[in-house]
Symmetry: C2
Subunit: 247 residues, 2 copies
């Protein structure tokens, strides 16, 4: 853990997310994985399965953030173009690499499955990249510079993160407190809340209204207040001030 704020971005690659057919869960999953390492997400993007779109987004995000995590597009089918796009983004040659081929040969050999040309696509790794182990299905991800290329299937993505954590230089950990206020509207709290935010500029304080419909057509409402900060003592003071807003 360092003393520096370390920030990352997620780049979700896939037409199926943009069409709404598949609900992305990897942004939240990666955020939860990184938080205890002292790394927070600064941005996320979703782009389609289009080489230019991927190249442009990877370059922009890799230049701006400490780390970039991509998800999706590393399978064996024609629409899996992430590895080639990452190679293009960094101007690296790409071909089937022997270390990746060996992993696939062992995995498919064990199940008596032929390593077809299509499956060999999954061994295409840009020059200079290091492999990321895939404990679920074998086919590896890879790291190239500050970009980590992960699978889109959430379970495989999660499995790959286990081989990513030790490569990350963490930052100062952000702590969170959360206070639930029942029977209040944001407008009731806004003035007092704004004052707390002003008095504690190092804390980031968010306000999130919620509604719950009850049987019979009535409903409950309230506001969830969430404060984040790196100074635990200060955050405890803010927590007490937020709790005092309960009336």
């Amino acid at each position: 853990m360092g003393e520096r704020a370390v920030k990352a971005a997620v780049l979700v690659i896939g037409d199926e997310i943009l069409s709404g057919r598949t609900q992305d869960v990897n942004i939240a999953q990666i955020a939860h994985f990184l938080a205890p390492l002292g790394i927070t997400l600064g941005e996320a993007r979703v782009v389609s399965d289009d080489q230019n779109a991927i190249v442009e987004a990877v370059r922009a995000l890799a230049a701006r953030w400490d780390y970039v995590f991509t998800t999706g597009g590393i399978g064996p089918t024609h629409d899996d173009i992430t590895a080639d796009a990452i190679a293009a983004a960094f101007g690296r040659p790409i071909d089937v690499r022997e270390d990746a081929r060996a992993i696939l040969e062992e995995r498919y050999g064990a199940s008596g499955t032929e390593l077809t040309e299509a499956r060999l696509r999954m061994a295409r790794i840009p020059d200079g990249a290091s492999l990321i182990a895939n404990p679920v299905t074998g086919a590896p991800g890879f790291q190239l510079e500050n970009v980590f290329v992960l699978a889109g299937v959430p379970k495989i993505c999660r499995g790959m993160l286990e081989d990513v954590a030790h490569r990350l230089e963490g930052g100062v950990v952000t702590h969170v407190v959360s206070v639930r206020i029942e029977n209040a509207r944001e407008g009731d709290l806004a003035e007092a809340l704004g004052k707390i935010a002003q008095d504690y500029p190092a804390c980031s304080i968010g306000s999130y209204p919620w509604f719950e419909e009850l049987a019979g057509g009535s409903f409950r409402r309230g506001v969830e207040l969430v404060a984040r900060g790196t100074d635990e003592a200060e955050l405890e003071e803010v927590d007490a001030l937020l709790r005092a807003l309960r009336r």
Copy 2:
């Protein structure tokens, strides 16, 4: 409905999405709303509650896509900075606007709630913007040029879309067929699938593996094939070819 491909982007504004605390559902919700109008999402971004980040993303997306939909950051609290950021992005003055104030006065008056200074923040609307009705809580969104500013609470976001549809010039509608193949792996289908994709370049064909764990530790697997295109006759041919991959 036009004959042109019309593309939009979603800009999700909110630290709570980037922290993983709240799961975004608005990207998928907006995609589903736009599809029957012949409008597809070309890109989505998530940025934090930071004016510079919002301004930069809005400018980039508004210049590139036909329409931009922002969600989040239009409530009454100090962290609600979307309206001011949109005004800054387009170089427009912003202040409390009388038409928006009138809506809030009527709404809060009916419930005997004081229209505090904090609540008046929700009447801050950039010059030249047109209001978007909020059938859920009253506080309006707005449209400025090709940018539609919506609430982040999914139900309110959905309600506001009803006052957006009539402002959109739709494009050619994309149709979808989806074929579920049981007991197959992507690698088994990749070659045949690649050939179909090559033969029908106007269709976008995606391949999505799925796994289901069954009781007792066994599992089922398969692949979902999804084809999209604007020519229904062509798509019917592709559908038949995809179904023929079932063995």
